[in-house]
């Protein structure tokens, strides 16, 4: 469904993504694991196209020169140079790191904004679905996004991304900064979303333990390159992964 070939991203002369090849299978959950600065977020921004916007702004400011090489194709179409909003229309929706909820809009409005690409019927159906998987949000409909707790914001961010009717949902560090209880709850919710809606998911995380069990196939990133890949089981049994990402 998604195919990334020989992807390289440079910030000036520093390499952020080094020759990554990656595929996401239809209906599967693919994981990307790696420490801080391994290139997870850059990869997510490159797949969703946001990096092109950053690049344009930096060029206007005369700031950092960003170079993207390689090829990204989605459902057989080359999308390497496509605008982020066009990619969203094709079904690639990013739920960004640190959530980036619209702070001055209420929970309900955040979801409505998420439904920008959806038809009325789709929006209504998805909103009901979001409230079924995240019943906690029901009582917070009128609360402004900026006043929600981290966990609530993360649920809202996932809900908001679902409203955009994604075919491929990109989750960038959805568990960042949450309590273990919330981590487990969200991991379960992500698993359920994948099972119930059949949406393909690409998820990146620093801390692999809560996520690895729900992932079908995973990649381990280090300094911008993919050093390891394999099925969930293969990764779990790998001694290096165990020591590095499970803290065992």
């Amino acid at each position: 469904m998604l195919e990334v070939k020989d992807l390289m991203v440079f910030y000036e002369n520093a390499i952020a993504i080094n020759n990554i090849n990656l595929t996401c299978r239809q209906g599967g959950v693919t994981g990307i694991f790696g420490a801080n600065s391994a290139g997870k977020s850059t990869l997510m921004y490159t797949i969703s196209g946001i990096i092109l916007d950053v690049k344009k702004k930096e060029e206007m400011k005369g700031g950092e020169r960003i170079t993207v090489l390689g090829r990204i194709s989605f459902e057989g179409v080359d999308i390497t140079h496509m605008k982020p909003s066009e990619r969203a229309k094709k079904g690639i929706v990013l739920c960004p790191e640190r959530r980036r909820i619209f702070p001055e809009s209420s929970t309900l409005e955040n979801l409505k904004i998420g439904g920008y690409l959806a038809t009325k019927a789709q929006a209504k159906e998805t909103m009901d679905y979001v409230f079924t998987i995240f019943p906690q949000l029901k009582n917070l409909k009128k609360r402004e996004g900026g006043f929600l707790s981290g966990g609530e914001q993360q649920m809202l961010a996932i809900g908001r991304a679902l409203m955009a009717q994604p075919k491929l949902l990109l989750l960038d560090e959805p568990l960042l900064g949450l309590s273990p209880l919330m981590e487990a709850m969200l991991a379960r919710a992500i698993h359920e979303i994948n099972l119930q809606t059949k949406i393909t998911i690409l998820i990146s995380e620093q801390y692999a333990r809560p996520i690895l069990p729900i992932v079908h196939y995973g990649y381990v990133l280090e300094n911008g390159g993919a050093v390891l890949e394999g099925t969930s089981r293969e990764l779990m049994e790998n001694p290096d992964v165990k020591s590095a990402y499970f803290g065992l």
Binding site: G49, V54, K83, S85, L94, F102, E104, G114
Partner: protein, 294 residues
């Protein structure tokens, strides 16, 4: 009582002039310095349509507003789109467009065009009558102005809270990239906000201009008023713009009543200076650093 009524009228004038400017800036961070020029242009267009082409007055207004909205979209599509992210260039370019429009209106001699110069251009009032409210004589146009101002603010509020396009504009205003991830195109949002902003400048013109005559010089004053309101209210804050309009509107009327009308502009500029010293982000402006606290 005089002060209350005429202060309100004056405040609504400020609000009408500023609301379009603040909408564009709030959504797209584009300072539209052609705002005043579009205001004057709509005044002259309407006048010309009514007097030269004998178009029915309300229809003339609608046509001029349409042209203004189209111009706003063109300004973005042709010019500002190349400059996004360069604030100084955005200001210079949009001000240049404003200059071309304003000075173009005064141009004489091309194709028999006499130029809009002198005090001959007056738009008719919607209803020409005067009435007395609580002992104060007031003409109907000023009441229509207050009503119109309220309608504009209410319509904008409903638009940005309950329609898909309006919500998408607010999304872009709050976090442009997060909005893009959900499929909202920022160029499209900028075009929409600039057309609405330009149409609002025109709407302000047709509501306000029947109170006096139409002159090209008014364009500069309108721009300065809009800027003053936006700086005092907090750039891009809609509630702030409305609040600042009332602060400025009343401050000017009160100072005129107490010290004479020479002090009007002193109050305007003084208010800007005071705000910049004591609350640089404006009355209701949010300092960006606060958002990073999480």
């Amino acid at each position: 009582m005089d002060i209350l009524i005429y202060g309100t009228v004056n405040s609504v004038i400020f609000a009408l002039v500023a609301v379009g400017f603040t909408l564009v800036y709030g959504v797209s961070r584009l300072p539209n310095f052609a705002h005043g020029a579009l205001y004057v242009l709509v005044g002259f267009l309407t006048w010309s349509l009514v007097n030269d082409f004998k178009v029915f007055y309300p229809l003339a207004i609608l046509i001029s507003l349409g042209i203004s909205a189209l111009l706003g979209a063109l300004i973005y599509r042709l010019i500002l789109i190349r400059l996004r992210g360069l604030p100084t260039s955005e200001i210079i370019a949009s001000f240049a467009v404003g200059l071309i429009i304003l000075e173009g209106l005064r141009l004489q001699g091309i194709g028999g065009f006499k130029g809009f110069i002198g005090p001959f251009y007056v738009l008719p009032a919607f209803i020409d009558s005067k009435l007395r409210i609580a002992g104060v004589l007031i003409d109907a146009q000023r009441l229509i102005l207050i009503g119109g101002g309220l309608c504009v603010v209410a319509a904008l509020w409903l638009f940005t809270h309950y329609t898909k396009t309006g919500l998408s504009l607010r999304a872009i205003a709050q976090d442009e990239q997060a909005a893009m991830m959900l499929g909202i195109d920022s160029d499209r949002a900028a075009v929409i906000s600039l057309s609405i902003g330009s149409a609002l400048a025109g709407l302000a013109a047709v509501i306000i201009l029947p109170l006096g005559n139409v002159t090209a010089e008014a364009g500069y004053r309108v721009l300065i008023n809009a800027l003053a309101v936006c700086i005092i209210g907090g750039l891009g804050s809609w509630a702030g713009a409305v609040l600042a309009s009332f602060v400025l509107g009343f401050a000017m009327i009160i100072s005129t009543a107490l010290f004479g009308s020479v002090w009007e502009s002193v109050v305007l500029v003084g208010a800007i200076i005071l705000i910049l010293i004591f609350r640089p982000s404006g009355l209701l402006g949010k300092q960006k650093e606060l958002e990073e606290r999480v």
